[in-house]
């Protein structure tokens, strides 16, 4: 890989990371403020926003799936950890490899599945609220699974690079 391309790639990754973090933070602030606003409207003015609940649930869906993307980056998904029981180095490397190959494969299929899902939803033409079609809200599925696929593939790349000298030795 040329160093210029690699630099641009690194920069793009950093920029996306930043964007992802701030989207999560701003959405959480929006979630709390909007939920509180709904409570005030309901209890003090006996009114409310009809589409408020649908909106809130989708905001949580977005925060959750973006959070899951971060969990992939930070390796914080819930998993079974037997590494303390395995002392053989090559076995541990092999299991580590299996782990990322499996994760990458599943994320890739999930990305493909959500792409088809999104296409179907788009052609159905239903609206969630106001003038916003459902499929806009559902773009989080292909987006997050694409990010998780890319992150797991980059882990796989790193794993293979560290494995090479082990195999060689």
């Amino acid at each position: 890989m040329s160093s210029r391309f690699s630099q641009t790639l690194q920069q793009a990754i950093r920029l996306y990371d930043l964007l992802e973090r701030w989207t999560i933070v701003l959405m959480m602030v929006l979630l709390v403020l909007f939920a509180l606003y709904q409570i005030v409207l309901r209890n003090f003015f006996s009114t409310g926003i009809v589409w408020g609940d649908i909106f809130l649930r989708h905001v949580v869906l977005w925060i959750g799936f973006l959070g899951a993307c971060r969990a992939t980056a930070e390796d914080k998904h819930i998993h079974i950890d037997l590494s303390a029981l395995i002392s053989t180095r090559w076995l541990r490397s092999l299991l580590g490899l299996l782990r990322v190959v499996f994760l990458s494969a599943v994320c890739t299929v999930l990305f493909y599945a959500s792409w088809i899902f999104l296409g179907d939803e788009k052609s159905s033409g239903y609206f969630a609220f106001l003038d916003i079609p459902y499929w806009w809200l559902q773009t989080i599925f292909p987006l997050s699974f694409l990010v998780m696929t890319l992150r797991s593939l980059s882990q796989l790349w790193r794993n293979l690079r560290t494995l090479a000298p082990v195999a060689h030795a």
Partner: protein
């Protein structure tokens, strides 16, 4: 073919692949074999967006993380030490009460051991409790209190089993208290034994300090009022669960950022990101399991298990015993959230056929999974405590044994005295 798929999935899970990917992978392979369009996985996942409890889950977790970053744990320990520190077993009771309080509000995600363990372990050792007792106590404390509202596992059970969360919140209170009281009695017994060997002539009795109590009370008053806000808001009918969660976030924000000024505004992005990562991991497991469960139902797996059980197990008691043994096993291998989302839908039709109330089933479930948290090979409490206290896991396991025995006794009472769970609802 089927056994090859099962082998691949088990290997993936054991290699440490995220459990969501194992569950989603199982659904994908199942749909491929059945020649069903794979986009059904996402259609099922999207059902998450129609569950109102998902909002409560996110907001309560957010409030919990904010609380964990503040000095709330120190204030709670100070207050209970002022009240109980002089009594036999006092400090151990302090550990139990503050942990239960803290876990209920922060979810059983290991935060309790991290936030309170470092504070309580030196205090217990200094008070001349044995290291083994102290470590066992604190390891067990890590998941104590998850039967109390508004703990995240209670909410997740409610989401999966489709029972009313407010009723589930009430159902957990008495069983949770029973567990707490039995553990306290054991601590008092240990405390009395310790005191007899420390100072046989009772010369080291020191009087309770009223000034310290009132000072500590003033310090912790905001945290103490929090359960009143949550429980009061929900049960007065004034607030829906997700609204109570939003109010909790606001309340904790005001208490810890404006009044105590321990959580700074600039800390909030980090707290929000931590919340999103943890809830994101749970949400993904929930979503993947929705797809997997639709496959199981399509294949009539729950019905087949039900049929098998009905031919082999006649009584409700027999069913409950088998259920507990099975769940203890599940709790050893799976984390709480994965266990809930995978196993609950399978068990519900069976429980219904034996006339087990779904609220009662929920409390049995969570008690089992709580015990599983402190048992090998995948007890999360053991791992976190091992990391936090820098002790080998086997040592912690042995240290936890007496506490596990008490938890098992509580489980037996909870299982066979359903009225303990249901009496508050009548």
């Amino acid at each position: 073919m089927k056994s090859l798929v099962a082998l691949l999935l088990s290997l993936a899970a054991l290699s440490g692949a995220p459990l969501f990917s194992v569950i989603a992978g199982a659904s994908i392979l199942a749909f491929l074999i059945l020649e069903i369009n794979v986009s059904l996985v996402i259609i099922e996942m999207y059902r998450l967006a129609s569950n109102p409890m998902i909002v409560a889950l996110m907001l309560f977790a957010m409030a919990g993380y904010m609380l964990a970053e503040s000095g709330a744990s120190k204030r709670l320990v100070r207050l209970s030490t002022a009240l109980l520190g002089r009594a036999p077993g006092g400090l151990a009771i302090v550990a139990l009460l503050t942990s239960a309080f803290f876990t209920a509000l922060t979810g059983a995600s290991g935060i309790t051991i991290v936030a309170l363990g470092g504070l309580l372990l030196p205090a217990l050792i200094q008070d001349r409790y044995s290291e083994k007792f102290s470590l066992g106590l604190l390891t067990t404390c890590g998941s104590l209190g998850l039967l109390f509202p508004p703990s995240l596992p209670l909410i997740v059970y409610g989401m999966v089993a489709e029972v009313k969360i407010s009723e589930l919140f009430l159902a957990g209170i008495l069983p949770g208290l029973l567990m707490l009281i039995l553990l306290m009695l054991y601590s008092v017994w240990q405390g009395v034994r310790k005191r007899q060997s420390d100072c046989p002539s009772e010369q080291c009795e020191t009087p309770m300090s009223l000034a310290e109590i009132s000072g500590a009370l003033k310090g912790a008053v905001w945290e103490l009022l929090l359960p009143v806000v949550v429980i009061g808001g929900v049960f007065s009918g004034f607030l829906a669960i997700s609204e109570a969660a939003a109010i909790t976030v606001l309340y904790v924000f005001v208490a810890e950022t404006v009044i105590h000024r321990e959580v700074k505004i600039r800390d909030l992005p980090t707290i929000i990101l931590k919340t999103a990562v943890m809830v994101g991991a749970i949400v993904l497991i929930l979503g993947a399991s929705l797809a997997f469960n639709s496959f199981l139902v399509d294949q009539q797996v729950p019905n087949r298990i039900l049929g098998f059980m009905q031919t082999h197990v006649e009584s409700k008691t027999g069913f409950l015993i088998i259920l507990n043994i099975f769940l203890l096993g599940v709790g050893c291998v799976l984390d709480m959230f994965s266990a809930l989302v995978i196993v609950v839908p399978l068990i519900i039709p069976i429980a219904n056929s034996y006339g087990v109330d779904l609220l009662h089933l929920g409390i049995i479930f969570l008690t089992n999974l709580q015990i599983g948290y402190s048992t090998p090979p995948v007890g999360m409490d053991l791992f976190i405590a091992g990391l936090r206290f820098d002790k080998p896991i086997v040592y912690l396991y042995i240290a936890s044994l007496p506490f596990l025995a008490i938890l098992l006794a509580t489980l037996a009472i909870i299982t066979f005295v359903p009225s303990l769970t249901l009496v508050l609802l009548r």
